[in-house]
């Protein structure tokens, strides 16, 4: 028992620097954000729930929150399904798996600025897409200034993150014992049955991790959106980060703090829901 405590103490000491880092650079700053969400921006006077009321009644916040939720609702299931499908195909390949894996990971290695340049080349009014449509006598458009901007954002996210999720799914797939499939086949199971009754249940533990990571990665898509369309993009791709960015510029720290607390709360709830679902499956 004593030995176990000592062992735990040693382990704790090794993670202590990281814990201190998280404490000083995340927990304490976030606690300060929570505190500020109840105060005036510069005066520091107690504002109660006024900042929250202001944020909830703010049409820009409602639009940004709606867009962000819509983005999550569309792209996370899409990404999970597409990446799983791709991982299954790759897993069934006999050779060149490493090569294909690398191919799918290449988008992750492309710097954001280069990706943005690619966006502009493709979706500018005189870009490749408009040029292609012109061949069929269809009018070109500045696609980033149309409702298509939202779908360009989705496509960009999928393109960039597909490889990462594929690798995670492949890791999960490699953990499934081949003997399970052999035994199932001996019992007469087909490919579909193997997938439904062996692969999918075995991948459920990975699903939680991949989902959380995908949700967190989805917030990074703001970098591309911001670099491509600036502070005020088309309203379909106006995300919460745009709003926070602009509030920060205008010194609206009170609204920003309240908005950040609400945002963090929603993410926390989403992760908890996923965790509960996963625990329930366990």
């Amino acid at each position: 028992m004593k030995k176990n405590i000592k062992k735990n103490q040693t382990g704790f000491l090794f993670v202590l620097p990281s814990l201190l880092g998280v404490l000083f650079f995340l927990v304490i700053p976030f606690a300060d954000v929570v505190r500020r969400s109840f105060l005036g921006a510069l005066s520091g006077a107690w504002a109660g729930l006024a900042n929250y009321r202001t944020v909830f009644s703010n049409t820009a916040f409602r639009l940004a929150a709606g867009n962000t939720l819509r983005f999550e609702a569309v792209c996370i299931p899409l990404l999970l399904a597409l990446s799983l499908f791709t991982a299954l195909i790759l897993n069934s390949l006999k050779s060149h798996i490493q090569f294909y894996k690398s191919c799918f990971l290449i988008p992750m290695a492309i710097p954001v600025a280069s990706a943005v340049l690619l966006w502009k080349v493709l979706f500018h009014e005189r870009g490749l897409l408009s040029g292609l449509l012109h061949l069929f006598h269809l009018p070109g458009e500045d696609w980033m200034r149309t409702p298509w901007a939202f779908w360009i954002l989705i496509a960009s996210y999928l393109w960039k993150n597909l490889g990462y999720d594929v690798v995670l799914w492949l890791a999960g797939l490699s953990g499934i014992s081949p003997s399970l499939y052999e035994a199932a086949r001996v019992d007469g199971a087909g490919r579909r049955q193997c997938f439904w009754y062996i692969t999918l249940p075995s991948l459920l533990p990975s699903l939680f991790t991949i989902s959380v990571l995908s949700i967190l990665n989805s917030f990074k898509v703001f970098r591309e959106a911001y670099l491509a369309a600036g502070d005020y993009p088309h309203e379909s791709m106006y995300l919460l980060q745009h709003l926070f960015n602009n509030w920060y510029r205008d010194l609206s720290m009170d609204k920003m703090a309240a908005g950040a607390v609400i945002h963090a709360g929603v993410i926390f709830l989403m992760v908890l829901t996923l965790k509960r679902a996963w625990d329930g499956e366990d």
């Binding site: 202590l16 620097p17 880092g21 000083f24 005036g40 703010n58 088309h234 509030w247 010194l251």
Partner: protein
């Protein structure tokens, strides 16, 4: 096991300590440095040596006996040479230069260079009617002022001249190396080869300091002319100081040099200050901080400098109004760094404010004012990022005391209680256009005081001007005039749709925001519709490659260019903002010389509009509120307001009258299209008379509606203008695009 535990403790402690100290070390160091310098004593103070009245100085030199000598031209255009008396404040004339050198319309003295031995070299220029090039003559003056023509063997114009301490005369002509001149024969001997491409030079002791096109300093030993050296320490020091080494005119040099008493000791001066350097030393020592004196003022150009007894310095410089002789004396009792520091912040460069800071610091040696610029061409920071940096500074408690609110979210700052009530400052100002300040008030208080303004005007035939009541009637008139005169364009042909909308923007923008803070879509649709009607498809704008970034925010919409074209009978109508006394002189000259032409305030979708510029605010978080208010009061005085660098007209009426009164009567302005040299037009302007100034001041006093200064709205509106006037999108589509972008901004 025990060893493992010890290692883990040590690692944990080291990493934690590293993480925590990493955040604070630099801040602590800075504070420490500040503390040290704040207690140190001793600083050079600046004083102006009064020059003979109504004169303009060409050159200054220290004679071998230590007397300071200047060569000047008086108000009648007569050149003479003067010595500074021993009292250090008054002058005695040594001799007059020949009377036949007096300035006329076709003859003038272009260079006078004084020698430490007492003689001088003079270049005169004669302009012949109908000829583009002038003819130069060269003279040598002995110590008594007796002139002898020097048959200088050059066909090129003289650019730079200087004497060595030994009295050897050096000259650099256009595209030629620095040469030594034999005054009797006029023979030019290449003194230092390899100086053909240098930009300018200075001489200290027996060394020629040549500044090349990259700002590098090349040293030429005048006793061994073919030896070229580089002083990396000197070049690096100049580069690191951030000194501007670009040549602005042939009268001034960005860097000037003079020798010290010690061997290899050289003093040099730039807009960053006066430095001491030991040849081939690694660093230069800053003796006089440019930012604390006139040297750092953007309108000051350097002519020459000399050392004097007791480690004093004289710098001959020219500012926007006159030549000045600056005298620097060391005061051991003055704090090395002023006790009070005021920090001002501006989104963009502001030359007038920099000039005012120099003036204020000179009058208040105990105050140090710094101006931080958020977005410059050099740092490449966007306006949005600059504002975020400012927010970070404010939230960290390091915010500025004073804010130039141009381009800043003033409403948001007001809502947060960020801006101090400045009503008392505005009330104490004298001779101000109170109407301009009154109309900046919110809830009876003024939080931002405009130091400058621009006024939208329209210029054209008097009978046409009578028809202009609003934007629609202007558009009606434009349609009526189109094609009436094939020799003239309707308006400035350089305008594309963007520029056309920008010229009309300020006279219309106050009508676009409803009482509920939302965009008045009908009014904006009307704006695009009428601008589309005014747009002349026959106009021939120069392709614009700058229409990105902050271009919309920094486009000045000046009326000046169009005035020149209208004066030369190339336009029917001209409109835009008047920014300077020169713009006004161009307008009044046109009106005076062409009876049928007149001008009036431009009524677009709003009447009596003015555009506030350099709107100053004081932060409520400032620890130096009283000193900031004093500085702001100074900024409203006539002395400060006469700074004129193109940033707008002064809000001080006396300063405006002074600026107009000091316009050089007979200045010529010309311009041509970069892609068509034959399009050259020019006009000679005259000082406006009292009636003309009075009429303009009346127009200013009528202004009571500030134009929209929000840059996000300006950018959004102007962004759509070109496509709209060219028919690529309808006014309704343009408005939809604007409101989509702006409504997000307004909703935030």
């Amino acid at each position: 096991m025990k060893g493992k535990k010890i290692i883990s403790w040590i690692l944990a402690a080291a990493l934690s300590f590293g993480a925590l100290t990493g955040c604070t070390s630099s801040g602590g160091g800075t504070d420490g440095e500040k503390k040290d310098t704040s207690t140190a004593k001793g600083r050079y103070l600046e004083a102006d040596v009064e020059l003979p009245e109504n004169t303009s100085v060409y050159d200054m030199v220290k004679l071998e006996d230590g007397t300071l000598r200047i060569a000047l031209s008086d108000q009648d255009g007569r050149e003479s040479v003067w010595n500074l008396k021993e009292d250090g404040t008054s002058w005695e004339k040594v001799y007059d230069m020949p009377e036949e050198w007096m300035m006329t319309d076709t003859f003038f003295v272009s260079h006078v260079t004084l020698s430490p031995k007492g003689d001088a070299f003079v270049v005169t220029s004669q302009v012949f009617e109908g000829e583009e090039e002038s003819q130069e003559h060269y003279y040598h003056l002995d110590g008594e002022g007796k002139a002898t023509e020097v048959p200088l063997q050059t066909e090129n114009y003289v650019y730079f001249t200087d004497y060595t301490r030994e009295g050897e005369f050096l000259v650099q002509c256009q595209h030629t190396p620095v040469s030594s001149v034999n005054m009797e024969t006029g023979e030019m001997t290449d003194k230092v080869s390899g100086t053909e491409d240098i930009r300018y030079f200075g001489v200290a002791a027996n060394t020629l300091y040549a500044v090349d096109r990259d700002g590098q300093i090349l040293l030429f030993d005048l006793l061994q002319p073919d030896v070229v050296e580089k002083d990396d320490g000197l070049s690096d020091s100049i580069a690191q100081s951030g000194a501007n080494t670009d040549l602005q005119s042939l009268q001034t040099r960005p860097l000037i040099f003079t020798e010290g008493k010690e061997e290899n000791e050289v003093f040099y001066c730039s807009n960053k200050g006066l430095y001491r350097h030991i040849r081939n030393g690694d660093v230069s020592e800053l003796l006089i901080d440019g930012s604390l004196t006139s040297l750092g003022s953007p309108d000051v150009g350097l002519i020459t400098m000399e050392t004097a007894e007791n480690n004093e310095f004289y710098v001959l410089a020219v500012d926007s109004q006159s030549v000045r002789l600056l005298h620097y004396t060391y005061s051991k009792d003055t704090a090395a760094v002023p006790g009070t520091e005021l920090r001002a912040w501006s989104l963009r460069e502001n030359s007038e404010l920099l000039q005012n800071i120099s003036q204020y610091q000179k009058e208040n040696p105990d105050v140090y004012v710094t101006l931080d610029i958020g977005s410059t061409e050099e740092n490449g920071v966007t306006a949005s990022d600059a504002l975020k940096n400012l927010s970070t500074e404010i939230m960290a408690g390091n915010g500025p005391d004073l804010l130039v609110l141009d381009g800043l979210p003033m409403d948001s700052y007001l809502e947060k209680g960020m801006l101090e009530d400045l009503t008392d400052v505005a009330d104490q100002g004298e001779h101000l256009f109170t109407n301009l300040l009154e109309n900046m008030k919110q809830d009876g208080k003024i939080y931002g005081i405009p130091l400058r303004f621009a006024l939208p005007l329209v210029e054209g035939k008097k009978q046409d001007l009578e028809k202009i009541q609003d934007l629609k009637s202007l558009a009606d008139l434009a349609e009526e005039l189109k094609g009436q005169d094939s020799e003239k364009t309707l308006y400035n042909p350089y305008y594309d749709g963007f520029a056309l909308a920008a010229q009309l923007y300020d006279a219309c923008s106050p009508a676009w925001i409803q009482e509920d803070g939302k965009i008045a879509e009908e009014k904006l649709t009307e704006f695009y519709t009428q601008v589309g009607r005014i747009f002349d498809p026959e106009s021939d704008p120069i392709p614009n490659s700058n229409a990105f970034g902050d271009y919309a925010a920094t486009f000045t919409s000046s009326i000046g260019g169009g005035t020149l074209e209208l004066y030369c009978d190339k336009l029917l109508l001209n409109f835009g903002n008047i920014w300077s006394g020169t713009d006004l002189a161009m307008l009044t000259t046109t009106v005076k010389e062409k009876e049928e032409i007149g001008y009036q305030p431009l009524t677009g979708q709003a009447a009596h509009v003015f555009l506030p510029k350099t709107v100053m605010g004081i932060s409520t978080k400032s620890k130096e509120k009283e000193e900031s208010k004093k500085f702001l009061q100074f900024l409203l005085t006539k002395d400060a307001q006469t700074a004129a660098q193109g940033g707008g007209l002064p809000v001080n009426q006396e300063a405006l009258e002074f600026l107009v009164d000091n316009i050089y009567d007979g200045s010529t302005f010309g311009s041509s299209r970069s892609d068509d040299p034959d399009s050259y037009v020019e006009m000679t302007i005259h000082k406006p008379d009292a009636d003309a100034v009075g009429q303009f001041i009346d127009y200013v006093k009528e202004a009571d509606t500030p134009a929209l200064t929000n840059e996000i709205i300006r950018e959004a509106v102007l962004e759509q203008a070109d496509d709209c006037v060219q028919g690529k999108i309808t006014p309704e589509e343009a408005v939809k695009a604007v409101t989509e972008k702006v409504s997000l901004y307004l909703a935030e």
